[in-house]
């Protein structure tokens, strides 16, 4: 195999898995910015995205329809989860909320195990299980789909935060919750919205990555930690940072497992993460003041 072709293949594979991490990291950051808490349920929503799509695929026998329905459903689960676990918390300080999300994660995982089983779930990609070869470069079509869908999702999120009243209100709450309440923005509804969006990002990530990796009920935590690492890498609370962090982590992991060993895939990416955080404790794009919350 030609060296350049290998490189291109690795870059595409790295960017596609990196896109998944970017989506998960985005979810972490949205909730972090509104609450100051780390949402441990983020990874479970990714897992649910895959598991629910698999279940719906059995009903619809259309991957596209199953993915869309599952993603919307996970977004709704995010909204409901906020209402029944976060909203009732009387003193919503970041540490309490973080602990609540640990509980939410465990319950979510158990419910999926009970209702959808312990067997690995999988389904074909949007273009079947095809690989395409262009000029000797072989890529899985699903990798290209992942990159394209992530890009579309990021553009939509950008539009939402920059152009819509609700998106701006969400930014206002994360900038200054007290001032937000003084202009009449109901912070509790905004928090619910943040959880819904985070779940949406997680759900779509899980729904589009499962054709490549399969999904089981217990994979949420691992995926969550990868997304968390990506968020830390980019600077926690920084939305563009999440995207760069995710892509970078995906590339490091893919190149590491190709050139060193796939056994050390996770070890390599965490080693690089630690190294970067030693040098820049607030992440690549983070400012120290962002972290204090």
């Amino acid at each position: 195999m030609d060296g350049t072709n290998t490189l291109v293949q690795l870059v595409i594979a790295g960017l596609s898995i990196g896109s998944i991490y970017a989506l998960i990291a985005l979810g972490f950051n949205i909730v972090f910015k509104c609450t100051g808490a780390m949402n441990f349920a983020q990874g479970e929503w990714v897992m649910m995205g895959g598991m629910v799509t698999a279940a719906l695929f059995g009903v619809f026998s259309s991957v596209g329809l199953a993915v869309v329905t599952a993603t919307v459903l996970i977004g709704a689960i995010g909204l409901v989860s906020e209402r029944i676990t976060i909203w009732p918390v009387r003193r919503p300080d970041p540490m309490t909320l973080t602990l609540v999300t640990v509980g939410l994660a465990i319950v979510s995982r158990s419910l999926v195990m009970i209702f959808l089983g312990k067997m690995p779930a999988g389904y074909s990609g949007f273009s079947g299980t095809d690989v395409i070869s262009i000029e000797g470069v072989t890529v899985q079509t699903q990798s290209l789909w992942i990159i394209a869908i992530t890009l579309l999702f990021l553009v939509l999120m950008h539009f939402f935060f920059e152009r819509t009243v609700l998106g701006k209100a969400l930014r206002a709450v994360s900038a200054d919750p007290q001032a937000a309440s003084l202009v009449g923005i109901p912070s509790s509804q905004m928090l619910m919205l943040a959880f819904g969006l985070a779940a949406l990002a997680g759900g779509i990530a899980g729904a589009i990555v499962t054709p490549l990796t399969l999904m089981t009920y217990d994979q949420g935590a691992t995926l969550g930690f990868k997304g968390f690492s990506a968020a830390m890498l980019g600077g926690i609370g920084n939305l563009p940072g999440a995207v760069v962090g995710g892509l970078l982590l995906g590339l490091i992991e893919t190149f590491g497992s190709f050139y060193i060993s796939s056994h050390f895939k996770d070890a390599i990416s965490f080693a690089v993460l630690l190294l970067i955080l030693f040098m820049r404790p607030a992440g690549l794009f983070g400012r120290v003041e962002v972290v204090k919350a």
């Binding site: 009243v165 701006k168 209100a169 206002a172 900038a175 003084l182 202009v183 009449g184």
Partner: protein, 261 residues
């Protein structure tokens, strides 16, 4: 404290208050408030009639901000009621009070620093943009830019990059965007250069002349006396004196304590 007669404005800018117009105004009765064990307010009664401009004078730590927080719904008093325009606001959240027509420009300004000037102003009109868009918001934005030309120049700048005076203007503009009927201003002159303070108070006089009821707090009463028709003096959590600006400005005790004479 008796329901004191509310004096007419000195220069006719502010409509004369009557018992009837008080029904459209702010009526605060017996507010006891504080933070946990630390009691700050011990039974405060104040009134602001519709369209009236009133100042709450007091040194630092006397409870001015605590009272403002109670009025805006940021702090729940232990006891007492806050009524506005004939409605009891005591149990309402800060966000709900905005809908009732009460807007607070908080101490320290609290603009949304990572957002642009224009986005800050839009957020002031949040309740009029979501879920239904009020078509008058655009005209109000133009009006704010007319009052504060400086904000128009800097409308695409991030609020965090503005000077203190510009941030104060933005905070006032943002509050006005909710179309309040009562504007609460907590220490609008704090930390600002004298020239900027003059500018801010000129604006306050202007919006007062447009008929908006105003309650502001000040440490230094000199500027306030020229802006409002009536003042309360708050000391150690209680109203110790009350009257027209002329009367208080002539009071030797007030002079000594708050005019630095």
């Amino acid at each position: 404290m008796p329901d004191a007669a509310i004096a007419p404005a000195p220069e006719g800018a502010v409509p004369a208050s009557t018992a009837a117009s008080l029904g459209d105004g702010l009526v605060v009765r017996g507010i006891h408030a504080g933070y946990g064990e630390m009691r700050v307010l011990h039974g405060v009664d104040i009134e602001v009639a519709a369209g009236e401009a009133v100042c709450l004078i007091g040194a630092n730590g006397m409870g001015k901000t605590t009272l403002m927080r109670c009025l805006a719904g940021l702090l729940r008093p232990y006891e007492g009621t806050v009524g506005f325009a004939g409605r009891n606001l005591t149990g309402l959240s800060a966000a709900a009070r905005v809908r009732e027509g009460v807007a607070l420009v908080p101490e320290g300004r609290h603009v949304f620093k990572p957002m642009t000037v224009q986005e800050n102003l839009e957020m002031g009109a949040y309740k009029r943009l979501w879920p239904r868009r009020d078509p008058k918001v655009a005209a109000d934005l133009a009006h704010i830019y007319e009052i504060f030309p400086r904000l128009k120049e800097r409308r695409t700048s991030l609020a965090g990059t503005l000077s203190g005076g510009e941030q104060q203007m933005l905070a006032i503009g943002r509050a006005l965007m909710s179309r309040p009927r009562l504007l609460l201003l907590d220490e609008p002159s704090m930390g600002l250069a004298p020239r900027v303070v003059q500018e801010i108070f000129a604006v306050i006089r202007r919006i007062s002349a447009e008929g908006l009821a105003i309650l502001l707090t000040e440490q230094n009463a000199r500027m306030a006396f020229r802006t409002v028709s009536r003042c309360y003096v708050l000391s150690e959590g209680q109203i110790i004196s009350e009257g027209t600006s002329e009367k208080l400005a002539a009071d030797p005790a007030v002079k000594a304590a708050y005019l630095g004479i």
